[in-house]
């Protein structure tokens, strides 16, 4: 169903990172569902986590472990979210970390655990423990695409991308993978995403880089308005390249920032394209607002309207529903005479009323495409935002009515 998603491109290895997967039988049969990402000593790590008050046990444990030393292993499972599992969930996550720590000869706090899948069931700890020695053995620098597959749940395609650039005369690589197709909403990292670069970057600078990248990508997408309990995005820097970036003022920082943002944006848009049941990729642009907040208000009201989303699914240029969404978005003192609306390049509403030259035929042509842009001009300022979403199809209902059953 993924709207316009191509096959996973070749993912570039990142010096200092090795990855492996195994079929641990956590929920699925005969497919890898357990992964580790190992980084060399001396690496730094930045991370952002869900803001959901009911955050999952692995999120609590990962936050704790991050406060100490730099992590050496990320331990990821699909099929079970270890969320809503109380104290036992935390004990279970710690137990898995301890097992891997022993194998790796590191402290337990050098392991960051991540889980994705069904909420409210206890983690099958013994199955994970039994599988860890195997995954340990198959780790390799080329394991990125294998991990991209192992962390999938309702995803229909694996998601990953690499960016390669030259800095200070030396090559730098940024590679990232992600999973997520439902329970996606802009509120901090909105899925699981793991990025790594071989640049050498202090933790604080790396955190700044990740936060900026996430703000312009993962925090600008929405599938169904639901924020997960388990969302996390991690950026590792192994320092194995010749490039060292000490501060955010460093000219090399801008190059790294651009690459990280590009990888984040590519992954975020891939998540939307693979949104549960998605058949259309929708860009919502809102310009002419007094500030970013009101542009976001309008953009998300449109992007999360079930009526707008079903109209997109039906390729129906039902601009009345978009207008209604703008009208109820809660922008203070909105003068409708300043509002314009475009479906693709076609101006439908100008100055609050139907454009005399707009034809239903124009609208149908735009809405029939796989990639649709809905653009709104509020006519009251200079702020603008762009967000991405997908349509609401029969398949969304089917997937979410059947998942778990």
């Amino acid at each position: 169903m993924a709207a316009g998603l191509e096959h996973l491109q070749e993912l570039l290895p990142v010096a200092g990172v090795e990855l492996g997967t195994v079929a641990a039988g956590i929920r699925y049969r005969d497919r890898p569902d357990l992964a580790i990402i190992a980084v060399t000593g001396g690496s730094t790590c930045a991370a952002v986590f869900t803001r959901n008050a009911f955050c999952a046990a692995p999120v609590i444990v990962a936050r704790r472990h991050l406060a100490g030393n730099s992590p050496r292993f990320l331990l990821i499972n699909a099929g079970n979210a270890n969320a809503g599992t109380g104290i036992q969930g935390i004990v279970d996550a710690e137990t898995c970390c301890a097992t891997l720590a022993e194998l790796g000869g590191v402290a337990s706090t050098a392991i960051l655990p991540f889980s994705t899948g069904v909420i409210g069931e206890l983690l099958p700890v013994s199955r994970i423990q039994a599988a860890l020695p195997q995954v340990w053995q198959v780790c390799s620098p080329t394991g990125w695409s294998s991990v991209a597959r192992a962390i999938m749940t309702t995803d229909t395609v694996p998601k990953g991308t690499s960016v390669h650039f030259t800095c200070q005369g030396h090559p730098v690589t940024v590679t990232g993978i992600a999973k997520g197709s439902g329970m996606i909403r802009p509120d901090m990292a909105t899925m699981l995403a793991f990025l790594a670069t071989d640049a050498q970057v202090p933790k604080k600078v790396l955190q700044r880089c990740l936060a900026r990248g996430v703000a312009e990508s993962f925090n600008r997408i929405t599938v169904d308005g639901d924020t997960s309990t388990n969302d996390a995005c991690v950026l590792l820097a192994t320092g194995q390249s010749e490039v060292s970036i000490a501060t955010i003022e460093d000219p090399a920082f801008a190059a790294l920032q651009q690459a990280v943002t590009e990888v984040c944006l590519s992954l975020a848009q891939a998540i939307v394209r693979d949104g549960e049941g998605a058949t259309k990729f929708i860009t919502v642009e809102v310009a002419g607002g007094r500030n970013i907040q009101e542009c976001e208000q309008v953009a998300y009201t449109i992007a999360q309207s079930p009526l707008v989303k079903t109209a997109c699914f039906a390729s129906d240029p039902n601009w009345g529903r978009i207008l209604a969404a703008i009208g109820r978005s809660g922008v203070p003192d909105l003068e409708i005479t300043g509002v314009s609306l475009y479906l693709g390049e076609a101006c439908v509403i100008h100055g609050g009323v139907l454009h005399p030259e707009y034809t239903e035929e124009q609208g149908r042509t735009v809405m029939a495409q796989d990639d649709i842009t809905l653009a709104v001009e509020l006519g009251r300022g200079d702020a603008r935002v762009q967000i991405w979403t997908c349509d609401l199809s029969f398949a969304y209902v089917k997937i979410n009515a059947e998942y778990r059953s």
Copy 2:
């Protein structure tokens, strides 16, 4: 599809009110789609309208006319919302009012127009004008159920109810009808609803009565989170009974308030039960909040979560999705250890963790029913709210993907 809705009960006439309908061919073929409600001179009228900034032409005209004399006729059409139609829409609404005013021998401002249906198409004024003399001729005190049918759009059943009570030793009647099944969200009146009573009530007192009734009913329901451009709720008081209520301190006011709220609640719940594609009627109760606002925040986050709604459709006790919705509802400093969750009578979460005696079987039994109650205790105060919604089914997508096409 209507979840647990019975056939339209017998609607009691209200002395001083006559109603009629006709098939004007506005959009539908061979079914009534134009209605008038005529009230006797000396009646008073209260009304609440949509807060959508893109409110429709009839809403603008009705508000204007209401500012003057008391209305004598409500003119209602289904199939065309006359919204997003700019100045021409206002001219069209005024033209229809003028035609009816001439027939009735009253000023144009004594007519309140209401439209519901597709947004963005011009009103077929001449067809309405041509049909008005016929509808004029068939008006009768028993026309309530006929109007309830004529104003339907994606509704699958007509909605109406009557309450009869004795006050000051005399009988009083309150009868109401409503339409609405999609584009429903709590933000002022959320559909078209017309109520009348034969009590004698000054306009100000009547407005207070309606506002209170709406706050506890229409403003507590949600189908898809979309607020219409055309929503309106009107309460007429003809003064034809012996009962006169001069102030809100009058003991009779409490009796009238109770009856009006009862009618509003019955109509509002009928709208949810007939929600587009609804197969389940869901009550969301949130108690133990510090204030009403945070209870509403949690309740609407649950009620509008597509994941929770599809789980209800699937009869799946997927309480993890409810927990995730509570967690992301934005309640400040929510301590999850204070949170409890009930599916019907079954306690699933107590003190933030799974209740040891809860079984999946219990949950399945609750979720398999047509009427489901999801109850949350926040454990941090005394405020509580109750709202109503429905599930998200294949049929919702089908209806909204096909409507208009």
